[in-house]
Amino acid sequence: MMELIWLIPLIPLFGFIINGLGQQTFSKSVIGWIGCGTVLSSFVLSLILFFQVQQQRALGEEASSVYHLFDWITVGSLNLGFSFLVDPLSALMLLIITGIGFLIHLYSCGYMASDESFGRFFSYLNLFIFFMLLLVMGSNYLIMFIGWEGVGLCSYLLIGFWYKNTSYANAAKKAFVMNRIGDLGFLIAMFVLIAVFGTLEYKEVFAKASQFPMGDATLLLITLLLFVAATGKSAQIPLFTWLPDAMAGPTPVSALIHAATMVTAGIYMIIRSNILFTLSPLTLQIIAAIGVATALIAAFIAMTQNDIKKVLAYSTVSQLGYMFLGLGVGAFTAAFFHVLTHAFFKALLFLGAGSVIHAMHHEQDMRKMGGLKKYLPITFMTMLIGTVAIAGIPPLSGFFSKDEILAFAFAQSPLLWGLGFVGALFTAFYMFRMLYITFYGDFRGTTEQEQHLHESPMVMTLPLIVLAVLSLIGGIINLPSVLGGGQWLANFLSPIYEYSVSRASEVHLEHSTEYILMAASAIAAIIMAILAYQKYVKKQDLPQEDGAQQGSLHKLSYHKLYIDEIYDALVVKPLNGLSKVLYKAIDKGLIDAIVNGVGDIIHASGRGIRQLQSGYVGFYIIMMVLGVAAIVLYGILNM
């Protein structure tokens, strides 16, 4: 089996090629079968692989191995190979990607059924899976970078999938460019890594890095650059604004790329390089600060959004902020745990939202919905589970992962915990707000829409149900010891941290403190849910039309803190202006003018000198005589 792991990414690539070439000729069902089948077979292979790794881990082995495929770039002493790494972390990521990927492929068969570019959609999705698998399977930073850029590309292609809409295409471009800013950080980080360690292979880099002293300046540089990359891909401050816009893509894309997999790549990368980060406490502090700030700001914005997908998008940004907070306080496992559970419930929520949008004929404004509970029972039930999970109400999965992060944050600094806690309150509120506005009350759309309301077909509800089950029980894989859990995940992943463990300071909380923290957040979440119920179901205090007067805080939130406008004014406009100035003033006005000026001077001097050629013979003769006289004079004077 281990010898065949290159098949895991390769099969989706084949799917991409076949579907890409045959998108015009194949029928939709063939394309659907190819698209889902390739991912499913990758999933099966990943499952087998996972159990092998699990077995080795159970025997106490490290269970990490490298498979070298071929040399890729060879320059001098530097040899960058195309090789894959299998270890507990990548095995789990493989499961998430192919598993959720498969569910979403299946869902897309229903969701995109009426779209004319069905084949193109599936080929892009398969390509995405391929790059995402490369990203997590690579055994060095370069392969990760290939995947890293590749998923960015797929994200671009899929966000702009409905390319005829200009604003969608703009959103796609924005996502790609913002990601590229991060990519530059990644690229430079790789150069520093090569310069310092002479290799990009994880194993060698980490082994060498573990010899470095705490707080080393080069490591600080590397980790900061890597973190820049992560902020781009995982939508953190200051590069997070692309993610909400990315909702222009079809909803399955939002679920797969912009919730479950791609946006967690930054977290994966940091967990992978945990030793580097552990040795740079300053970076970790920055990560924690940015993480918590992102979590708060995004949650704040999400409170007033009316587009169902925008709410979910900001919620994703916010949850990613939690993950970074977890990383920042050194809780790598907890962060990964949250990646896992978040993948379940956020994919679920997006797919549920997709189901709603599908039923509403591509209406995304929640103000036009309401009362959908009775029309879409399965969607409602699964969405409810997702909401409860993300709000952090026990015993669903989100509670455990989020609480673990918050507990670590508390150990680090109660302030971080406090901010995170406030964010969690916001989360519970806006999620229930979304649920209530959408599913409760009376239907507010057109009557025509009402007649067509229908529960989605089986291919779409099945993934919902599976994900709902996972969201329900996902928490058990890393049940904290205070609740009698075995912390399976932490044990499973422990080889990843072999270098960090000895270097990081031990975090320990009293059991009683942990109980209090848990109870506090659980109760608070429930209170927020009730508050939202009071406001949106009992009082029917629905969001107003766009033009209505609102409080300043509300306005700030509704307009996303004007961050897009600020970026536009600070970066985009000046650059565009600079472009015009450089072109008109500098390029044409200065440099080209100098070049042309040289030509003009020669031209003009010619024009001047030819005045002497007056055509009057008398003039010529005078000049001649004067010339001879001058020569004679010169001769006499020099005698």
């Binding site: 050629q613 007056s614 055509g615 009057y616 013979v617 008398g618 003769i621 005078i622 005589v625």
Partner: protein
């Protein structure tokens, strides 16, 4: 032969020089200030002959025949020049009905 040389040497060299310079200057001034092409050509002839005279004089004083050879050259050349020059003047006259040099100003940018 001797007598010619002695005759020529009978006049001091300085006188030749001054005389030729004056004739030459008259020629130059004639060329410069007159506008009739014929007169200009005559002035040019004057200059050439001034030079010829000087060459002959020096040739006699130095006892070197080269100078006289040059004189013959110049005379031949002057004859050819006049032939060509006058034919040009005739063509100009036919075209412009004038021999004024100022009318020949078409040769310009």
């Amino acid at each position: 032969m001797d007598t010619i040389v002695q005759h020529i040497q009978g006049v001091p060299l300085n006188h030749y020089l001054i005389f030729c310079s004056v004739i030459f200057a008259i020629g130059v001034i004639g060329v410069l200030i007159r506008r009739n092409v014929i007169i200009i050509m005559m002035s040019i002839e004057l200059m050439l002959n001034a030079v010829n005279l000087l060459l002959a004089a020096f040739s006699a004083y130095w006892g070197d025949a080269n100078g006289q050879v040059f004189v013959f050259f110049i005379m031949a050349l002057a004859a050819a020049e006049v032939a060509v020059g006058l034919s040009i003047v005739i063509m100009v006259y036919r075209n412009t009905k004038s021999v004024d040099i100022e009318s020949l100003n078409k040769l310009r940018w």
